[in-house]
């Protein structure tokens, strides 16, 4: 009975494309929110589990997306190796950003990640191979073993697969020895050191994993949206990702998905009504409500349902 909620989720997810068969745009939005969920999950691991702040998370998405797009479009690499390369390069940058994090904390780390995030988008805009300010258009859809995921529906299943994979990885990571160590470090650095936890290694690990998630999300974004522009991956998007993670619920497994769905839905409904600027206000207010009243964000709902089903306290 314990696993009933994920199964319900999976069944619902599989039938979503069948229900919305006539509305590819809805599927497109759901795809987008799943991609954001993957990226936010990375931020969640870094912030919710590791207690480190990052204001340059969107830059890792840009790195992953551009790497894969350039490899596929300019060097005709197949999709899967390009995906791996995108994630790997993103990891390397995560490592580079992780190093200052060993010396910096809190405020300084936020500034350093913010600065590095801006530098990355700045560099991308100056390079010729990335298309500069015009962006990178007409990226081909993903192709795995001769199967081209060209429609929104087929992409839905592919992204769902990646979402399940990353969620599973994140769940295992949180429960693993490294995840436990990071949580100990988040709660008390002194305590973690006293327990013999190697702080530096785990901080680096947190940065690498979070940037790997962001890189993967970036690759998926590049090939399903088919258009990249460094301008979209600036500080504003990094802050949006932070908001998604926090509104969804910091340190919870489901939070990033809930937050991402909400973000995409609200934003697109408002843009249909030509009232997009108002999204910021709604999210700001929601963020404040969550911070003040709901420390576990929207995941509170999932946790409550789970409790009712299992009749005992479940800690994710």
């Amino acid at each position: 009975m314990k696993k009933i909620l994920p199964i319900i989720f999976l069944v619902v997810a599989i039938f979503i494309p069948v229900v919305f068969k006539t509305k590819p745009s809805i599927i497109y939005f759901i795809n987008l929110s799943m991609i954001y969920a993957i990226s936010a999950q990375g931020l969640n691991l870094l912030m919710g589990i590791g207690g480190q702040i990052s204001l340059g998370h969107a830059a890792f998405m840009a790195i992953g997306g551009y790497t894969s797009a350039i490899l596929v479009m300019k060097f005709h690499t197949p999709f899967l190796p390009a995906l791996v390369a995108g994630v790997a390069l993103s990891c390397i940058f995560g490592l580079i950003v992780g190093f200052p994090s060993l010396r910096l904390k809190g405020f300084y780390l936020a500034i350093a990640t913010m600065a590095l995030g801006s530098v990355v988008t700045d560099v991308i805009r100056r390079l010729a191979i990335t298309g500069g300010d015009y962006g990178f258009a007409n990226i081909s859809p993903p192709e795995i073993f001769k199967f081209v995921f060209s429609s929104n529906f087929s992409q839905f299943y592919m992204i769902l697969g990646f979402l399940l994979l990353t969620t599973w990885l994140a769940r295992n990571f949180i429960r693993s020895k490294s995840g436990m160590a990071l949580q100990a470090m988040r709660d008390s650095v002194t305590g973690a050191v006293a327990l013999g936890i190697n702080i530096s290694n785990y901080k680096l690990l947190a940065f690498i994993i979070s940037s790997a998630f962001a890189g993967l999300a970036g690759v998926l974004y590049a090939h399903s949206v088919t258009y990249l522009n460094a301008f979209n991956f600036g500080l504003a998007f990094s802050i949006d990702l932070l908001a998604i993670t926090i509104i969804g619920g910091l340190g919870t497994l489901w939070g990033s998905l809930l937050g991402a769905i909400l973000w995409v839905l609200v934003r697109n409904f408002l843009s249909l009504a030509h009232f997009e600027v108002f999204a910021g206000v709604i999210f700001g207010v929601m963020l404040i409500i969550v911070v003040v009243f709901l420390p576990r964000g929207l995941s509170e709902i999932i946790i409550r349902i789970n409790q009712r089903m299992n009749r005992k306290r479940v800690i994710t």
Partner: protein, 285 residues
């Protein structure tokens, strides 16, 4: 040459005003305040409405500063004090949420960059080879006065000394019976008052749009890092220094104009983490 220096000084004074607010809040409440810049933007927007309603300029400036003080009071009283005990990251998130709200609200009304009337009109003052813009001169003068008042407040009044003690050691301050809650309110109020002033001083130079203070805020962060995060004097000097250096760099080497300050901050963090005036933090593992 000297005009460049002066122009940089004027820009730097805005950075200083914003950086002071950030440093005051960071050193006492330990919160990284992302909303400093956008609070200035929001107040500048209100100032624009007031000015359009034919309210004289000096009165507008005073109303704006008072409003900033009031908003700071509200924020601390209504939100920050509730979250302080439970989550530290939550307080940072509230400041981020405020930036979203302010940008959203102003974005509804201001669709295109809007010109903001300068406080004093008229051509630049020419002083031999030095050319000085009147608005620049005014913002420099006002910043100077505000800095002096602020320093008097911090070093000569009871509440100022109390807030400095709080910044130094929160636990000891509480033991000495300092009313910590009131001081938090005092600090937020001062910081947002400064934000309003910075906003109204810089708005005539850039034009008003929802994101126009973000650059200033980023520069203010850098100025704060440059001066040392826990020193108000450092923020002032860091801001002025950054303004001047940046102006020279953008004149002589325009290619690296945008990235220069970011590169600078990374270098400072790597080689001089405590900044120019900051106290070296004793490392507790």
């Amino acid at each position: 040459m000297f005009s460049l220096f002066f122009r940089g000084l004027a820009t730097g004074s805005i950075y200083s005003l914003t950086a002071m607010g950030i440093v005051l809040i960071l050193s006492t409440t330990n919160v990284m305040n992302f909303s400093q810049g956008d609070m200035g933007m929001f107040l500048a927007f209100i100032a624009l409405i007031l000015l359009m309603a034919k309210i004289p300029y000096p009165v507008t400036i005073i109303i704006i500063i008072l409003m900033g003080i009031f908003l700071g009071f509200l924020l601390e009283k209504g939100l920050m004090s509730k979250v302080r005990k439970t989550s530290h990251i939550g307080m940072v998130m509230i400041t981020l949420a405020l930036t979203m709200i302010f940008e959203g609200i102003v974005g509804i009304f201001v669709k295109t960059p809007t010109l903001f009337p300068p406080a004093i009109s008229g051509g630049p003052i020419i002083f031999g080879t030095i050319i000085m813009d009147r608005q620049d001169l005014l913002s420099l003068a006002i910043s100077l006065i505000v800095v002096i008042i602020l320093f008097l407040a911090l070093y000569r009044t009871k509440i100022g000394i109390a807030s400095r003690s709080l910044a130094e050691d929160e636990y000891a301050a509480k033991l000495l019976g300092i009313p910590v809650k009131n001081i938090y309110i005092f600090i937020w109020a001062i910081a947002f008052g400064l934000a309003g002033l910075a906003g109204i001083m810089v708005a005539p130079r850039l034009s008003l749009e929802p994101t126009f203070m973000l650059v200033i805020q980023l520069k203010a962060f850098i100025a704060a890092v440059l001066g040392g995060m826990n020193s108000v004097l450092g923020a002032v000097v860091g801001g002025l220094l950054l303004g001047v250096v940046e102006n020279f760099v953008s004149f002589y080497i325009p290619q690296i104009k945008d990235s220069f300050s970011l590169i600078l901050v990374v270098l400072v963090l790597l080689f001089l983490p405590q900044g120019l005036f900051g106290k070296r933090e004793t490392r507790r593992a």
